[in-house]
Amino acid sequence: MINDKVSQKIVDIIQNFARKHSLWVLAYGTGCGAIEIPPTMTSRYDAERLGVRGAATPRQADVLLITGYLTTKTLKRVIRVYEQMQDPKYVIGFGSCTINGGMYYDSYNTIKALDRYLPVDVYINGCMPRPEAVLEGFAKLQELIQAGKADGARKYKENLDWYRANQKEVIPVWRMPEYNW
């Protein structure tokens, strides 16, 4: 019965509806964009209305916010965190830095295009993106989830070799931090 197309579709719709309205965001301020996360989450903008809520550990989180630039040192941790997260998982890129390097395009320590290292589902324009834009980003992600198009995690799995090769290109020593839970 579970193979039946119609029931599968119904399950999908329910699942996607629940996923869409329950986005747990990993509390990891990777860059300066983290400064607009507290306003987004607090009373004035109140992202909890949309089902967006903080999650303390990667195991529980659905959404990874890359709030701006990533230094190679952080990238290493972010990759680890991303791989710890459970499917389905989504990545939102904040601001210019995740798209094409932003202000730090010539820095020796920051990566420029995030989608080369991690699959990104939604990019939010701005430097900083305002809380309104962040909420708009979540709304867009919800739209994509509803349509079943937010499949970054699948892409990552399918092209793992490509991603891994890119990651190793910028991380000189591929030795993960000593904590390995």
């Binding site: 020796y108 920051t110 000189p172």
Partner: protein, 189 residues
């Protein structure tokens, strides 16, 4: 304040024959001194003169002089005067005395300078890595390290989509058939 400044300069130049005082306005007193005497003068300034707050330690790479310049900036809460102490270190053999027994916080500054400029501080006890992780290039803040070239080489970016960009000067030059001699090109923007 002027009298106090004069007094400070007098005392220091009396005690440290090699110290050269550079004139500045306001509440700034400025000395240049050989690097061997740095711990001594800083000790003296702190213990005898009341400059008990180390505000900053900075480093400048004078590539053309083949030297590093270290700047120690002290502040006296009582006199409200800041003292700059400059010294120069050879760029080939950058070794300096550690001063974190005078001010504990100097430890952090020295760690950063060690990592960013490759200056060794004799007797500095701290983990080797500070801001960078597994860095394999030269100390990055040195002037001969080109961060742009490094970034372009190392990190991929979306440049193909922008490849139809044109230089304004070049476009006009092509349109008019102007021939720009090579020696003038360095003055183009």
């Amino acid at each position: 304040m002027e009298e106090r400044k004069k007094e400070i300069i007098q005392t220091i130049t009396d005690h440290f024959k090699d110290a050269v005082s550079n004139p500045y306005d306001g509440n700034r007193v400025d000395f240049t001194i050989p690097k061997q005497q740095i711990p001594a003068i800083l000790f003296y300034l702190k213990d005898e003169m009341g400059f008990n707050h180390l505000s900053h330690i900075s480093c400048i790479d004078w590539l053309e002089d083949k030297q590093f310049e270290l700047v120690y900036i002290l502040w006296s809460y009582t006199d409200r005067v800041k003292v700059f102490v400059h010294t120069r270190v050879d760029r080939e053999q950058p070794v300096m005395d550690n001063i974190d027994m005078i001010w504990r916080q100097a430890n952090t500054y020295e760690r950063e300078i060690r990592e960013m400029y490759g200056i060794r501080f004799a007797g500095l006890e701290a983990p080797e890595e500070f801001l960078l992780e597994d860095w394999q290039g030269p100390p990055p803040m040195r002037r001969d390290f080109d961060t742009y070239a490094y970034a372009m080489k190392t990190f991929w970016d979306r440049q193909e989509a922008r490849s139809n960009a044109q230089d304004v000067r070049e476009t006009i030059r092509r349109r008019t058939g102007e021939e720009l001699p090579d020696f003038a090109k360095k003055y183009s923007r």
